[in-house]
Symmetry: C2
Subunit: 190 residues, 2 copies
């Protein structure tokens, strides 16, 4: 399902407010370009992500991600693309709290949906399959190896998260939920 | 000349204060690890740089740089290293103001030391040779191609600058001033 342009503007303003509270300054052009990812799921507040890409070259990428309270970025992985072994990502929490979930470690305990602090989006419960939990508070970070399934959710206050990574090729991301459409569909209602 | 450990601690505390004013949170371990680069020049306030490296992998790197008022990072370039074409850097100003200097563009005007807003460090005047000026205010950024000579100075309020880049291999940086020693020399006076 497409997001309405009018809805996107409201969501952008809210994301911009959260960036401002984190002390992050954007140019006017960047503010207008805040990306709103609804993943085609028609419930942005529950499963969605707001992001601003500062730079994405063929060598590195840097973004800030904004998550509203309990908003979830759905489970996905970054596959190899051509000669690239797959995107490697470092998430650094700036404000709020983030719950990050990854595959269990080979020699570690098996983690299950019952053990975690995040609230799994009910309608898409079957498409959340990895539960090794990493909690990130402001100043804490975690680096995700290429090919690792992961998803994340903000705590009750929302979160601003810096993402440092190798090149982003979002259109190749593989989501566990086959209903997901990563690239934006926009209904120009204005 | 080596920096004294006691001096480094004072400089770290000052850098940490400026990061805090920019809304940037560090862990205790990161605070203790703020790098103080005096470049062996024995005048850190004039030519020096404080930095915190969040992540440096074989694919990408992210740092925050702290510059005290009018503090200057001396002219240098990032050469090819092995199969790497040389470090590519994006500087994004977070707080304060930064004056960045680069080689003149092939078809552009020739820029000279008289035209610029920065104050060239007097003692090292001969080692500043590129003067194409880029002024960065909060939210503004500039990406430097590999192999480009560059130097930068904070405005009168100092600056915090995020650096997104390909892999950092600081030990290979080529400085115009032959007196510069990039890697830290520390006098453990405590
Ligand atoms: Zn990811
Ligand atoms: Zn540089």
């Amino acid at each position: 399902m497409a997001l309405k342009r009018s809805e996107i503007r409201i969501v952008q303003a809210r994301a911009e407010r959260m960036l401002g509270e984190a002390g992050i300054v954007l140019t006017a052009e960047e503010r207008a370009g805040i990306e709103v990812a609804g993943f085609g799921l028609d419930d942005l507040e529950e499963q969605g992500l707001e992001l601003i890409t500062y730079i994405n070259t063929d060598r590195y990428c840097a973004k800030d991600l904004i998550l509203f309270p309990r908003q979830t970025c759905p489970e996905h992985l970054h596959p190899p693309v051509g000669g690239d072994p797959g995107k490697m990502e470092t998430f650094r929490c700036r404000t709020g709290q983030v719950f990050l979930y990854l595959d269990s470690l080979p020699d570690g305990p098996e983690n299950s949906a019952e053990d975690i602090q995040a609230v799994i989006p009910e309608r898409s419960r079957h498409y959340y399959t990895v539960f090794r939990e990493v909690v990130l508070n402001p100043g804490e970070q975690y680096t995700i190896a290429p090919g690792t399934k992961h998803w994340f959710q903000a705590g009750p206050q929302g979160a601003v998260v810096s993402e440092f990574s190798s090149t982003s090729r979002d259109e190749f991301d593989i989501f566990t939920d086959p209903n997901i459409v990563r690239m934006p569909l926009i209904d120009e209602d204005e």
